[in-house]
């Protein structure tokens, strides 16, 4: 198993499947009356979040606690970081406190990789800038596999703000590693430069792609990252790229609708679609805990020397 989880681009097929298989075991723990395993007793997990995130941080916290690890939440706001401490000094401080895993979210792409060079423990990327969000992709793959029974040969469509989305990048790499065919759909202004080097098909027409999709992953339009006008109006975006009931009806009957959250209802996804039985949004949250437990176990469950 790998030492750090920084991206899905360099995650091999065997390691990815090991995470998914381990997560299947972890999911059974959630069904028990005592949702706790002693496995990581005495280990320390630090949640180092330089960006606001409730769901990812909480998910990692629940995962670590179910494995009996100690959890320290360290958010940039109101900490030494707001007083001007550098990432490296923060890292060395955490190191001195004996962190075994640092779960890092950072607005700068590549920050977790820098961090991994400075600390002895493992680093898990919980989202860095517009680069990657590997545990989100793993939980999406896990959710698809649980619902549809496989990943190999599926057609997965990712629609929305591809340019700013680390979820899109991580999903694209992971799902193609696991044998799915990925199509990205977005307004031309929200498709990144150089996308021809990615293992995806690009389309600007959602209605043409939907009937062939086994899974549609709807992304949030990240207005906080938008520094320019990428589309004229929200209504126009919704009309061309929003997933509504009519578009849901155009998809195959077994096709899934996924959303990494938080959802903006009425913008990229209609409320009745978000609440339909084919939407996995809530399931994804539960699966997120199982997948993060699997990642923590695989990074921490063995000896450092062999791992």
């Amino acid at each position: 198993m790998i030492r750090h989880l920084l991206s899905t681009e360099d995650l091999g097929r065997d390691d990815a499947l090991l995470v998914l298989d381990t997560a299947e075991y972890m999911a059974t723990v959630a069904d028990r009356s005592v949702k706790k395993l002693p496995t990581l007793r005495g280990r320390t997990v630090v949640n180092l979040f330089f960006e606001d995130s409730t769901r990812t941080r909480t998910s990692f916290e629940v995962a670590a606690k179910r494995l009996s690890a100690d959890v320290i939440n360290f958010s940039a706001r109101g900490s030494s970081v707001s007083k001007g401490e550098s990432l490296k000094d923060t890292a060395l401080t955490l190191e001195a406190m004996g962190a075994d895993v640092v779960v890092c979210r950072h607005p700068a792409s590549g920050a977790p990789r820098r961090l991994a060079g400075w600390v002895r423990g493992s680093v898990v990327n919980a989202g860095d800038g517009t680069h990657e969000h590997p545990t989100q992709a793993l939980l999406d793959a896990f959710t698809i596999r649980r619902r549809l029974g496989r990943l190999d040969g599926l057609s997965v469509t990712i629609v929305g703000d591809i340019l700013h989305s680390r979820v899109a990048r991580s999903n694209m790499w992971l799902l193609s590693t696991l044998g799915a065919a990925v199509t990205v759909v977005a307004p031309p202004t929200l498709v990144p430069v150089g996308i021809e080097r990615w293992p995806v098909t690009v389309s600007y027409d959602l209605d043409a792609v939907l009937p062939k999709s086994d899974v549609v992953i709807v992304l949030r339009v990240q207005r906080e990252r938008m520094t320019a006008a990428f589309f004229p109006t929200e209504r126009e975006y919704t009309r061309r790229y929003g997933l509504d009931a009519d578009r849901l009806a155009a998809m195959p009957a077994s096709a899934l609708v996924m959303h990494p959250g938080p959802m903006v209802r009425g913008m990229e996804i209609a409320s009745d679609v978000a609440d339909s039985t084919r939407s996995t949004a809530v399931e994804q949250v539960a699966n997120g805990v199982s997948v993060r437990m699997a990642v923590l176990y695989l990074l921490l469950g063995g000896t450092r020397e062999v791992a």
Binding site: M1, L18, D21, T22, Y25, T28, R32, V34, L37, P38, T39, Y297, L298, G301, G302, T303, V306, A307
Partner: protein, 198 residues
């Protein structure tokens, strides 16, 4: 992978290089041993009422199924059979590479009030059984927990003993006891591999 720490389920003696391999139980021997153990289980549990056989992966699971099949043949009753992966409760996780998790699968009725018999291939330090006892407590409260092993090779590190033993096999710590079963390997056999001793 090939380490002597638990001396249990190894991929096979051929993997261990130039050591000498001694077959202690042949396939037919294993069959006879399991038949005797099935009878002992029936005798000690007064006919097997409320007994659940839980195999410890990997090779404890097929052994549990074989014992259940023999009980069915002798007494015509159906024992509960399942598997219990103790990995998450081990105390030696940090001493080796991360272990992949195995299946835990309990019979539908659960284990509350039942007589659980843990089944494993080799009993060595006792640490696997200790972990299994902890894992078991998460699923309920059996009335009695017993232990059945195909091979007891000694060198216990914890106060644990087996209720049903297929074969007591004195070994040195330098030796490896390798169990092979047709369900997981190519044949039935129990071998002692002495590394570098030959």
């Amino acid at each position: 992978m090939a380490t002597t720490a638990t001396g249990g389920s190894l991929p096979g003696p051929e993997a261990s290089g130039q050591g000498t391999v001694r077959t202690v139980l042949s396939g037919a021997d294993i069959g006879r041993v399991l038949t005797r153990m099935a009878h002992q289980i029936l005798e000690k549990t007064s006919g097997g009422a409320g007994v659940v056989l839980l195999g410890i992966p990997t090779r404890g699971v097929p052994l549990a199924h074989r014992l259940a099949a023999r009980v069915r043949a002798v007494e015509g009753i159906e024992l509960g059979v399942g598997s219990l992966d103790p990995t998450m409760h081990r105390d030696d996780l940090r001493l080796r590479a991360v272990r992949p998790l195995e299946v835990t699968d309990l019979p539908d009725g659960g284990i509350d009030g039942s007589t659980v018999i843990l089944v494993d291939d080799v009993l060595y330090s006792g640490r696997t059984v200790r972990a299994a006892l902890d894992a078991l407590a998460e699923f309920g409260r059996p009335r009695v927990v017993q232990l059945a092993v195909l091979v007891d090779r000694g060198h216990r590190e914890l106060p644990i003993r087996a209720d049903y033993v297929g074969k007591n096999m004195p070994t040195s710590r330098q030796e490896v006891v390798a169990v092979r079963l047709v369900e997981t390997d190519d044949r039935d056999a129990v071998m002692i591999v002495s590394e570098g001793a030959g």
